[in-house]
Symmetry: C2
Subunit: 132 residues, 2 copies
Amino acid sequence: MKLITRDTDYALRALCFIAKEKERIVAVSELVKELKIPKPFLRKILQSLHKHGVLAAYKGVGGGFKLARPANKIFLFDLLAIFQQDWHLNECLFKKMLCPNVKKCVLKKRIDKIEDFVRKELSSISIASLVG
Amino acid sequence: MKLITRDTDYALRALCFIAKEKERIVAVSELVKELKIPKPFLRKILQSLHKHGVLAAYKGVGGGFKLARPANKIFLFDLLAIFQQDWHLNECLFKKMLCPNVKKCVLKKRIDKIEDFVRKELSSISIASLVG
DNA sequence: ACAAATGATACTATTGTGGTATCATTTAAA
DNA sequence: TTTAAATGATACCACAATAGTATCATTTGT
C-alpha cells in the first residue's frame, strides 16, 4: 500500500521547486529538466494543481506557473485530496456488516482515531516547511 | 486510498466469527452463510491464513478451521502483513530525489512518524478486543 | 466407496495507477 | 500579422493490483 502515489509525489516536488523561485513564473520545460519527470505527465499534474487553485497559470510565450497562495498555506494533505480523491482509510469496514455485530463497533472508532492522526499530520506538512 | 483491502476485511470478519466459536471447528460453508462472502474467495483467504499460521485447518468430512493461537495474539497488523505485502507508507518519496534537495529530508522523518503511529495502532487491535 | 471438506494452482475480470497523444487556445515578440 | 512558445482540455493506452472464479487433487468420517 502507498500512502502517497506518484502524482502526489511529483506535485510535491514541483511545488517545492516553484516555491523556491518565489514570484518568478516557471515553465513546465524548466521543471522537467530539473526534476526528470516525463513532460506530458507533469503537465497534467500542474494543470490539475491549477484547476484546484494551488497554482496560478500564465499562457503563451514566457508563460508557466507560480504559487496561487503562500507556500505556508499549501499542505501535503491538499495534494492527497486532489490526486487521491476519496481518501479515507476505513472505507470498507464501517459501511458493512461488522459494525452491527460488534458492540458499538470498536473497530470503527479505532480506525477513525488512526485516520484523524494521519489527517492532522498531513495537514501540518506545508510546502514552506519543506523548502526550509 | 484504502488502508484495508477487501481480503483483509473479510479475513478479519471470518476470524471474529471463528473466535466466537472458541474451539469448535468451523467450515467455510458456514462462514459463507453468516458473512455473505463469495465462497471461493473466502476459501482462498482462509487457506492463506492457514499457510501463515493464523488458522489451524482440518480436512475431510466435518473439517474446517479454528484459531491456531489465542484471539488476543492475532492482530489487525498481522492481516495487513499477510494480504498487503509490502506495506510501507513512504515508498516513493525517500528513495528518490526529494531527500537530497531538502535539508536532511524533513519529509521522510515526518512520514516515518506517521507510519510508526499507524503500525503501533494496528498492532494493538486484536481479534479478542473486537469480539469483546 | 463416497461425500464432505480443505490444498494447490491457474485463470479472469475490473479498477487504479502511470503515463501518451492530440488538438485548441493564448500570448509575446519578430 | 505571422509564428513559436507556452498552457487548456480531453481522449486514449499500458501495466499492475485488486477481487474474484474454476478446477483438480488430497484427506477423512461414515
